[in-house]
């Protein structure tokens, strides 16, 4: 039966999607990992039901499992592994420069949004805060802790 692997794939994709939609980087990375595993498992399932013998020796060809999806999954796993490592390094760099685990808003988007709703004080305050942060980031290296972005 392939129902159990199929269900596992569905759960991995669902939880991964949920995590990717969060704003903190660590959760996003975990989400990417889960979806990656889900996709690789799906590749394995595409070979057909589990439990057949591997392609060794001689015998009835119908009894052997298809080796190609395993080779594909192996390649995909290696790629996922490499990219996860890169993503972790990037997240670390992001923590180094912002001292925060959250994904920031794009400052230009904020400015455009302000053009639209010039009378919205909340939006104005947020934009100003971000612009100040940008100025802080432009200064030489420092070790200020969380720069007052509110509750993490």
């Amino acid at each position: 039966m392939t129902i159990i692997p199929a269900l596992t794939v569905a759960v991995l994709f669902a939880t991964g999607t949920y995590l990717i939609l969060q704003r903190t980087l660590t959760r996003i990375i975990l989400g990417v990992g889960l979806i990656g595993n889900g996709a690789n498992l799906l590749l394995l399932v595409s070979a057909g039901p589990a439990g057949r013998t591997p392609l060794i020796g001689s015998g009835d060809p119908a009894g052997f499992t298809d080796p190609l999806p395993q080779a594909l999954a192996l390649t995909a796993i290696v790629i996922t592994f490499g990219l996860s490592a890169f993503l972790l390094a990037l997240a670390y760099r992001s923590w180094q420069v912002t001292h925060d685990d959250e994904v920031e808003d794009d400052i230009e988007d904020r400015r455009i949004a302000r053009l639209r709703g010039e009378l919205d004080p909340d939006l104005d305050a947020l934009t100003q805060e971000l612009e100040e942060l940008e100025d802080v980031a432009a200064e030489p290296p420092h070790h200020t802790p969380n720069t007052g972005r509110g509750e993490p």
Partner: protein
């Protein structure tokens, strides 16, 4: 066996390995990268000549028979994409080398070469899983390139870029699994026959899944949000080559899969609707922006709409228009970003409110911008006009009047935002001038940077001058796309 087909992939990879060894010798690295890309370009010109003379060429990597081994195939479409793509890569490389004083240059060269190899492999591969690998090679290199400076802004934008593209890659793996489960093959030519025997519902699901995957890479509506956010933060040479090539690899894959794999299951209406929204949303986004690079980034999205329009018509003239349009876009888009780089080099910013009156300081950049911008907007006799004319006449033949009206309106919007850049950057006086502008003297620009931009704009002018022969090549490419018998025969021997 045709070893020529492997050269555009193998040579840059080999050169990348050598540049890593020569990491402490900047001049050797530059030379290796330049020679690597130039050799790949030479090989792709040879491929184009051969394909033009003898029809589609195929080679089995490692000599494994079809469909077990990996196939490399070049038909007219992929050969044309290769030549124009690699020529642009070479010009942008010259610009990057000219831009001295870059502390990350030793890392730039190997990564740039790997990206070149990935792009070439995506155009040449005849195998769905190999296409995934080619995408990953390109993307992994692009992740490094986009975050190379490691600044706060780059890390923020790079994060979005990496996560979105990773998600698209996982969807691609899922699509591959579904395709394999239903056909038992990864070879395009072999798959085309087997997909035709599946139920229409299954065909539609697979076709749409692949469209979503490539749609994210090509930045079509509604999957484009990541692009204008992430592209402008990278350095000029990187943004230029991304703008010119990476989205077009997505468009190439859409055209390849939709025509070759699903000939009986055409998503005409869906593609035309997507094309319309992509054009309109892109151009409206561009008009709202206040930064040259960001305006141009939104235009990448808008112009993708025209290509999808040509694909959506599924006629020879529509596809020929789309192919021509892609070929014209690659150098035009890249050269506009290079001009942006010249502006940034001189004035220190590309924000319209910070710069102004640059036509006196850098007249050459202003002239180059004018040519490329008018070409983008589709003013005769430049190449954009030929591409749009082909698409409009194909649309009229297919009686898709609504989408033609939209595309013409979007052209006006494009012209408007190009004039906005011209007025903001090259004319007028800046509201908050940058220190460089206040100093008065024009900054010295290295000759190689100028030369590279001139060469790329020259390429777009050449495409316009040779529009007749190039368009007839595109027409033949489109005929082959709609009737892939020659492609399938070349692969299956």
């Amino acid at each position: 066996m045709n070893a020529l087909l492997a050269l555009p992939v193998v040579v840059p990879l080999l050169a990348a390995a050598l540049t890593v060894i020569a990491v402490r010798l900047p001049m050797v690295q530059r030379l290796l990268t330049f020679v690597g890309v130039a050799t790949a370009l030479g090989a792709s010109i040879a491929i184009l000549v051969q394909v033009d003379r003898d029809g589609p060429q195929a080679t089995q990597v490692g000599g494994w028979p079809v469909p077990i081994g990996i196939t490399l195939v070049a038909d007219l479409f992929s050969a044309l994409m290769l030549v124009i793509g690699l020529a642009t890569v070479l010009a942008v490389l010259a610009f990057a080398i000219g831009q001295r004083g870059d502390e990350h240059e030793s890392a730039f060269h190997p990564v740039y070469l790997v990206m070149t190899a990935g792009v070439a492999l995506s155009f040449l591969t005849g195998d769905l899983f190999n296409l995934f690998v080619a995408f990953e090679i390109t993307l992994t290199a692009s992740y490094v390139l986009i975050t190379l400076g490691g600044t706060r802004e780059q890390v923020r934008a790079g994060m979005t870029y990496v996560v979105i593209n990773l998600l698209a890659s996982f969807l691609f793996v899922a699509a591959i699994a579904f395709v394999y489960a239903s056909t038992g093959t990864m070879n395009f030519a072999d798959m085309a026959d087997k997909l035709a025997t599946l139920s229409p519902a299954l065909q539609t699901s697979l076709s749409l899944l692949l469209l979503v995957v490539f749609g994210i890479k090509a930045a079509i509506f509604p999957l484009y949000f990541w692009l204008p956010d992430s592209y402008p933060t990278a350095r000029t040479s990187v943004t230029a080559v991304f703008a010119g090539l990476l989205t077009k690899v997505g468009v190439y894959s859409i055209i390849r899969t939709q025509t070759l794999l699903f000939p009986d299951n055409r998503q005409t209406t869906l593609l035309l609707v997507i094309a319309g929204f992509t054009m309109v949303v892109g151009v409206l986004g561009a008009i709202a922006q206040d930064d040259m690079k960001r305006i141009l980034s939104f235009h990448i999205v808008s112009q993708i709409g025209y290509m999808i329009l040509g694909v959506g018509l599924f006629t020879v003239s529509g596809l020929a228009g789309a192919v021509f349009f892609v070929l014209h876009q690659i150098p035009v888009k890249a050269s506009l970003f290079l001009v942006g780089g010249l502006v940034e080099h001189d004035a220190g910013s590309t924000k319209l409110s910070h710069v102004g009156g640059l036509v006196r300081r850098i007249p050459l950049a202003a002239t180059l911008f004018l040519i490329a911008a008018l070409s983008l907007a589709g003013i005769p006799p430049l190449s954009g006009f030929v591409g749009k004319l082909a698409l409009v006449s194909a649309g009229l033949d297919a009686q898709e009047y609504a989408i033609i009206a939209v595309s013409l309106l979007v052209s006006i919007g494009t012209l408007f935002s190009m004039v906005k850049i011209w007025n903001g950057v090259f004319w007028g006086t800046p509201e908050e001038p940058t220190p460089a502008i206040l100093a008065g003297e024009a900054v010295h620009t290295p000759a190689l940077m100028k030369l590279a931009t001139v060469a790329l704009v020259g390429l777009t002018v050449a495409i316009a001058l040779a529009a007749g022969p190039i368009y007839s090549l595109c027409e033949r490419a489109a005929t082959d796309l709609l009737d892939p018998t020659a492609y399938v025969t070349a692969v299956q021997g």
